[in-house]
């Protein structure tokens, strides 16, 4: 089926996720949608699949304009989407999951469904037993199930959102073979990814998004350097770098290993000097988040040692890390960082060490007023945190940190903030560095990573490069490393 998107606009508050996107995809094509995190890939795909309604714009299928207001509308028109996390029902059997959601009668026709399931599975060479339970499947197999389900529902346009995250190389090959088969059958495949290698190896054509704009369409043969440049935009003029590492070792990691259900980071060793800034680069979910949370004591390590200012904290709780001078700022400010419903004064009281039984509200309000001024927060001591803008919430989070700190761990400290706020926040962070605080931060902004880090660790699928001197890196080299294409002189692998 031919798909055409015309002048799609979508904004979320101040964020412009899609700005006048025009894209036309003929049937039988594998269309790549490439872009960094937050470039607007998922938003655009969710518009097409009915999860989000665009503010304006038109969707045409086979040349006819259609209204898609819900995923059910989308599938009626033959558009189905595979989400990054499979939307299935782990406690159900495969066959029940397969039947679920399909319209028709009070009693689902299981035998017909089972027959259809086997036929489709054979076609693609998927070895799935319809009687097993979904929760016994791997992520790759769950994707296969989703593909079969969408096809059985009559999908002729299939959208894959980052399908190669968390599946094995073998399963990836199988997936790619299935996608090519789909295209041969005349189905339209949209392949959303930030992985250059996957896009280059699979897609007939690729559209690149950057900050909500469609910056261009590329056909094979692909030129990696050009894709990287389009993906990350033009380099911004940067001010002088300002490194200030001291002499003592703040944090020492020895052979650290940490894992979750989809990723393993193995044998990472690192010594961080006081005042040093280490940037953790990599696409979301490559292991940097897991690593950062393990250094905060929030995720239990499975091997190795964490020594903070000479104190071995391996296996201790987050609160022990906190007592020894580590602080962690989460990326999701309102979900994890701030308590919705409480005001700024109450937050400052919570963050400070409690003295006595009763709260001294007068002193607390004075403290809040002072910090609000110091950190240039647009709000009052009685402002509830949810009423603040994103930038002000981030400033508030920084203002909540105690002094002095040995180690500051930040997840996307400036995500979603405007340039002014970003510069302000980094000036505050650099102040901390000059006082001897070491910083580890995750960012998906290459310029930010290069500009503010002294050294950079690049994560890809749980693998980590050795610490790279930020001064010797360009955004292009970093972009390639992030996309899993190791520049030969840098040799990604186990960290030194």
């Amino acid at each position: 089926m031919d798909v055409e998107l015309r002048d799609i606009h979508k904004t979320f508050g101040p964020v412009r996720a899609s700005v006048g996107i025009n894209l036309s995809i003929p049937a039988g094509t594998i269309q790549g949608i490439l872009g960094e995190n937050g470039a607007g890939k998922s938003t655009l795909m969710k518009v097409l699949s009915g999860f989000i309604r665009a503010d304006s714009g038109e969707i045409l299928l086979d040349g006819r304009p259609v209204l898609i207001h819900s995923p059910a509308d989308a599938i009626r028109h033959g558009v189905g989407m595979l989400h990054q996390d499979p939307l299935d029902f782990p406690p159900l059997r495969i066959i029940d999951d397969f039947v679920l959601g399909r319209a028709g009668g009070l009693f689902p026709d299981r035998s017909a469904a089972a027959q259809g399931f086997r036929m489709l599975a054979d076609q693609f060479g998927f070895a799935l037993d319809p009687e097993t339970y979904v929760d016994s499947l791997t992520v790759g197999e769950r994707q296969q199930l989703e593909i079969l389900r969408l096809l059985w529902w009559g999908a002729r346009v299939l959208i894959f959102d980052e399908p190669t995250t968390g599946i094995s190389a073998v399963q990836k090959e199988k997936l790619f073979a299935a996608l090519r088969l789909l295209a041969e059958q005349g189905k339209t495949v949209l392949f959303v990814s930030h992985k250059l290698e996957d896009v280059e190896g699979l897609c007939h054509r690729t559209a690149v998004l950057y900050q909500g704009h469609l910056v261009g369409e590329v056909r094979p043969p692909y030129e990696t350097s050009k894709l990287v440049e389009m993906m990350f935009g033009k380099a911004i003029e940067v001010e002088a770098r300002n490194p200030c590492p001291g002499q003592e070792i703040t944090l020492s990691l020895k052979d650290l290993s940490v894992e979750d259900y989809r990723l393993k980071v193995r044998g990472l060793s690192l010594e961080v000097l006081s005042g040093e800034v280490i940037g953790l680069a990599g696409m979301e979910g490559s292991g940097q988040g897991l690593f950062l949370r393990s250094v905060a004591g929030l995720v239990r390590t499975v091997g190795g040692r964490i020594v903070l200012r000479g104190k071995d904290l391996t296996g201790r709780s987050y609160h022990a890390f906190k007592r020894h001078g580590a602080a962690f700022l989460p990326a999701s400010r309102l979900e994890e960082g701030l308590a919705t419903g409480l005001n700024l004064t109450e937050h400052f009281v919570l963050a400070e060490e409690a003295r006595g039984f009763l709260v001294d509200w007068r002193a607390a309000r004075q403290l809040a007023q002072k910090r609000i001024e110091d950190f240039n927060i647009h709000g009052t001591p009685t402002s509830r945190v949810e009423a603040l803008s994103g930038g002000n919430q981030q400033r508030a989070l920084l203002a909540l940190l105690r002094e002095p700190l040995a180690l500051l761990l930040l997840e996307h400290p400036t995500r979603g903030l405007d340039v002014e706020s970003t510069i302000y926040i980094w000036s505050k962070l650099k102040e901390r560095c000059r006082q001897g605080t070491s910083i580890l931060f995750i960012s998906s902004d290459l310029e930010e990573t290069l500009h503010y880090s002294d050294r950079v660790l690049v994560f890809f699928g749980g693998k980590v490069t050795s610490p790279l001197d930020a001064g010797g890196l360009t955004s292009e080299m970093l972009g390639q490393l992030i996309g899993g294409k190791g520049a030969p002189e840098l040799k990604p692998g186990k960290a030194a």
Binding site: R53, A54, D55, S56, G57, L67, H69, Y318, H319, K322, F328, P330, E335, E336, G337, L338, A339, T340, G341, L342, E346, H347, V349, L350, A351, A354, G356, F357, L358, V359, W361, L400
Partner: protein
């Protein structure tokens, strides 16, 4: 700010009026004169000094359960088990009085120990729900509900089994205690100033705890966002568990007061729904302890006032529950509507931006 306050008041008043309208409809439907019924509720609550006394007698346990539930609400916990915690308080108090009544200890000491035992019993029962939640991953609503049934069964077992009256056990409860073990009441009255004072003290304590202390603020932080509270250094599960224990202690006190100050024995229906009613009060005041006292007073007056409906209009006295429930439902509904109204998120279909 001003304007949003007025909107708030308007929505609350609207809810009250709507609740009255709905109850009036029901009164009309069952053939009772609405005005007459409301008047008799008022008379039943405030009409005579003995009515007023009954009102205060039922205000006390309601204040205690409301005080307890406010603590768990602040910690973001739906302690449905408060009813059973009150029952366990009554059982523990009865047990303590029974085991000490023949020892010759001073009666005041026995009563004090009985009340203390009630608080401990309630706290232990709440601790079970809390431990199930914290360590077993059992939602406190399910845990509490299950424990409520167990507590009822336990009471009936005790009343008809080990603690039965001489002869055969009966629904009227265990053998009443000797008058010396009754919580002292005012002369020629049933109202005990001790229980009244204790419950007022309890609600004051909770008010101060939630408003002025680090403990209260941390508890609220856990309730509003336990992840953020944890990252800010609050030991979250310990706080949740402690909230359960405190709430249970207050509920247990309520049970102990029913035993020592009102019925002077253990009854199968000793909790009389005060636990659930406390939940309604806490929901209605929306975490603000300062309003719990007047709202509990209002609810207690409905309870005592509606007793006469039975005689006058053949309406069951549980009719007050209808009005109370309507009120809570509509206030919660009004709150939801207000928030939508303020955010202006909700627009009729025709006002939404076309796509």
């Amino acid at each position: 700010m001003r304007k949003s306050l007025w909107i708030h008041v308007a929505f609350q008043l609207g809810a009250l009026v709507a609740a009255l309208l709905l109850t009036t409809l029901i009164l009309v439907a069952v053939g009772a004169p609405p005005l007459g019924a409301y008047a008799s509720i008022l008379r039943g609550a405030f009409g005579s000094s003995s009515n007023l006394e009954n009102l205060l007698i039922s205000w006390s346990p309601l204040l205690l359960t409301s005080a307890g539930v406010l603590i768990t609400f602040s910690a973001g916990l739906w302690n449905i088990g408060v009813e059973g915690q009150m029952v366990l308080g009554a059982i523990f108090a009865t047990g303590m009085l029974r085991s000490l009544q023949d020892t010759g200890f001073p009666p005041a000491l026995i009563i004090a120990l009985g009340i203390l035992a009630g608080a401990v019993g309630g706290a232990l029962w709440a601790g079970v729900a809390g431990a199930l939640k914290t360590f077993g991953g059992v939602n406190e609503i399910f845990g509490g509900l299950g424990l409520n049934f167990v507590s009822t069964a336990l009471t009936i077992y005790l009343v008809f089994g080990p603690w039965k009256r001489p002869g055969t056990g009966s629904m009227s409860g265990t053998q009443p205690f000797d008058r010396t073990l009754w919580l002292p009441s005012l002369p020629d009255m049933q109202l005990s100033p001790w229980s009244l004072a204790l419950s007022i003290l309890a609600i004051l304590c909770v008010f101060l705890l939630l408003r002025g202390t680090h403990f209260g603020l941390r508890l609220k932080a856990v309730g509003k966002n336990s992840k953020a509270a944890f990252l800010m250094g609050v030991p979250t599960w310990q706080y949740s568990l402690f909230a359960f224990l405190l709430c249970g202690a207050f509920a247990g006190l309520a049970g102990a007061i029913q035993v020592t100050g009102v019925y002077h024995r253990l009854l199968p229906n000793i909790s009389n729904g005060y636990g659930f009613l406390g939940l309604l009060v806490a929901m209605l005041v929306n975490y603000q302890a300062i309003w719990a006292a007047p709202v509990a007073f209002f609810f207690a007056s409905l309870n005592t006032g509606s007793v006469q409906l039975q005689l006058l209009y053949q309406l069951d006295s549980s009719f007050s529950g209808v009005l109370q429930s309507f009120l809570v439902l509509l206030v919660l509904l009004g709150e939801g509507a207000r928030q939508r109204f303020l955010k202006l998120q909700w627009k009729p279909r025709w006002m939404r931006t076309p796509s």
